[in-house]
């Protein structure tokens, strides 16, 4: 069973780091190799791979190693999307029960 709160916490941990945010921002323009990600950030490839692991774990990024090149891309599915959907479903019902409360509070003769 999906635990929305756990995934949101992991997401915030992942994106709480400025280097990882930079990486996600760069990847939003299209897939890149891990070494292309490392260069402008002035960090080692090892460091990039560590960050990628964290991003992969929360479903934001997907990586594939072909030969010596690790290609990284934003995961199009993304945990967050279904979380959004589930949250809107819940909000929808919260609004309905708000409206129910308002309707029930109306005086008898207006029904």
């Amino acid at each position: 069973m999906a635990d929305s709160r756990v995934s949101i916490d992991r997401l915030f941990h992942a994106l709480g780091d400025p280097t990882r945010r930079s990486m996600v921002e760069k990847l939003s323009a299209g897939p890149m190799s891990a070494s292309s990600l490392a260069a402008p950030l002035d960090i080692t490839l090892t460091a990039v791979v560590q960050h990628l692991k964290v991003l992969e774990e929360c479903g934001l990024v997907r990586t594939e190693k072909l030969g010596r090149v690790r290609t990284c891309s934003l995961d199009p599915a993304g945990l967050s999307i279904l979380d959004q959907w589930i949250k809107s479903c819940r909000s929808l019902w919260e609004e309905r029960f708000d409206r129910l409360g308002e309707m029930l509070a109306e005086p008898e003769d207006t029904k």
């Binding site: 709480g16 199009p76 967050s80 999307i81 959004q84 019902w93 609004e95 129910l100 029930l104």
Partner: protein, 157 residues
């Protein structure tokens, strides 16, 4: 590698209303009453709402999404059936939700009503299977935007 494409989710909403239980139950059982709080919304136009409130009876609704939603002009369809009704106590139903012709979710919904000194307690349990790919590319964009906005707010603290 194929990944699971169904996400299961359960949430519970509890409310207390300062209203007699019979009236709260009537808000669920009477189609005209139910339409007012359940179907009508500022965010969409109700094109269809029918409810046959009995075990085995269907509830059908179709809404045309409005401009403030991620899917303006798209029809959202709910088809539900009542499985268990104990008057004054509980209502159990299941329903499907589709956006356009894309099935988004199937849910099991339980409404329980309990009389209290001040009125009625409502316990609403929603258990659903949400399908991968539901919402399409617009939902994804909205989802990313919304996510980054939320993150920005969170990090501003």
């Amino acid at each position: 590698m194929p990944e699971p494409t169904v996400i299961h989710n359960t949430f519970v909403i509890e409310r207390s209303y300062p209203t007699l239980l019979e009236q709260v139950f009537a808000a669920f059982a009477n189609p005209a009453r139910k339409r007012r709080w359940y179907a009508e919304s500022e965010r969409h136009v109700v094109e269809q709402f029918e409810m046959d409130f009995q075990i085995g009876g269907y509830e059908r609704a179709r809404y045309r999404m409005g401009d403030t939603t991620p899917f303006p002009g798209v029809p959202l369809t709910n088809v539900g059936v009542f499985h268990d009704i104990v008057p004054g106590e509980r209502i159990v139903s299941s329903s499907t939700m589709s956006l356009g012709d894309k099935r988004v979710s199937v849910s099991l919904v339980t409404v329980e009503l309990l009389p209290t000194d001040t009125g009625t307690d409502l316990i609403f349990t929603h258990q659903a299977a949400f399908f991968e790919g539901s919402g399409g590319p617009q939902m994804r964009e909205q989802g990313w935007q919304h996510l980054f906005e939320r993150l920005a707010r969170e990090l501003a603290h």
